[in-house]
């Protein structure tokens, strides 16, 4: 069963993302949640999920710093990451992919967009949308 961490300071965004992931076919998954980047990093170190979905603008530690820490960590490097953000466009996507994001999606995210990302980043899961 894949383990997915969703990091976003908005409970609404986390809920909506989880619902979209389930609609995208990730029905049997364990969902973990974090309200900021620091919390996400703690969970990542303790539980090493299969996938991280993260917002960019978060208190305490933002998504960009979180990506940097993951990239710099021997244990976490290579973790599949999807950035879901309202602050994204093509220019930002280039920067985020260089920081290790496997996919960069705009808000509101859709099951179809997540399904397409899951096919690439978590083969064998999702893709049902």
């Amino acid at each position: 069963m894949p383990r997915v961490l969703i990091a976003d300071d908005s409970a609404t965004a986390r809920f909506f993302c989880r619902r979209c992931l389930q609609a995208a076919g990730l029905i049997e998954a364990e969902f973990l949640e974090a309200a900021d980047g620091a919390q996400a990093l703690e969970i990542l170190r303790a539980q090493r999920p299969d996938l991280l979905i993260t917002d960019l603008m978060m208190p305490v530690m933002d998504g960009v710093e979180l990506l940097r820490r993951i990239q710099a960590s021997p244990k976490l490097h290579g973790l599949p990451v999807i950035v879901v953000s309202s602050a994204g466009n093509a220019a930002r996507e280039r920067e985020l992919r260089l920081l290790g994001a496997g996919a960069v999606l705009g808000k509101p995210v859709s099951p179809a967009a997540l399904a397409a990302a899951l096919v690439e980043l978590l083969p064998g899961t999702g893709g049902a949308a």
Binding site: A11, F15, A90, A103, A112
Partner: protein
Amino acid sequence: MTAPADLLANALHHSLAHTLENLVFEEALRVDDPKVYTGMEAPHWFRVAVSDPVPGSIAIIVEDGLLAALAKQLFGPESSNNRSLQLDAGRELTNTVAGHLMAHLVADEPFALGIPDDGPGLPQDSAQCQAQLTCLVEGRSLMALAWGQGLLVYASDLPDEAPQSASGGWQAGDPEAWGSAPDADPQTGRWPAGGTWGDDTPTDE
């Protein structure tokens, strides 16, 4: 030629309509009645600051009944008495609208948004906003405001007034209105990397 303030208001409506449609499956019927605020029951504002490439902010003012209805649409009936969830939904709605608007205004430049804030009534400087619009969502009032001279400059590059629908009113989320900057591809969620900016329909890029 449409004034920049009107172009900005049009863009704001497009972003609001797109967000409401995709987040809560609701339409935002534009009415543009400046007196709508006085008829609002217990209005609450939500605001997101823009810091780059130009300073500004975007706010949405929602009456409590509509906020509760939108939260219920998202979370289900258990949100009816959960004020914290309702306010969170309002902040996230505003955050998403602001991001969608900025992605349209600045196209291929990076932009930065702040963390949403909120409070009762109207924002203090609402009279100084550069663009304003009012909508009905489920028959209830919603206002959207935008501040920032820089946003007006970007808005002046947007296409002129969109064609009206057959009913004579604005079509919520009308994709034909926006030819200058794309939404993320609804299938892949990605923005086109360059080349021709089309409308909101998916491309093969």
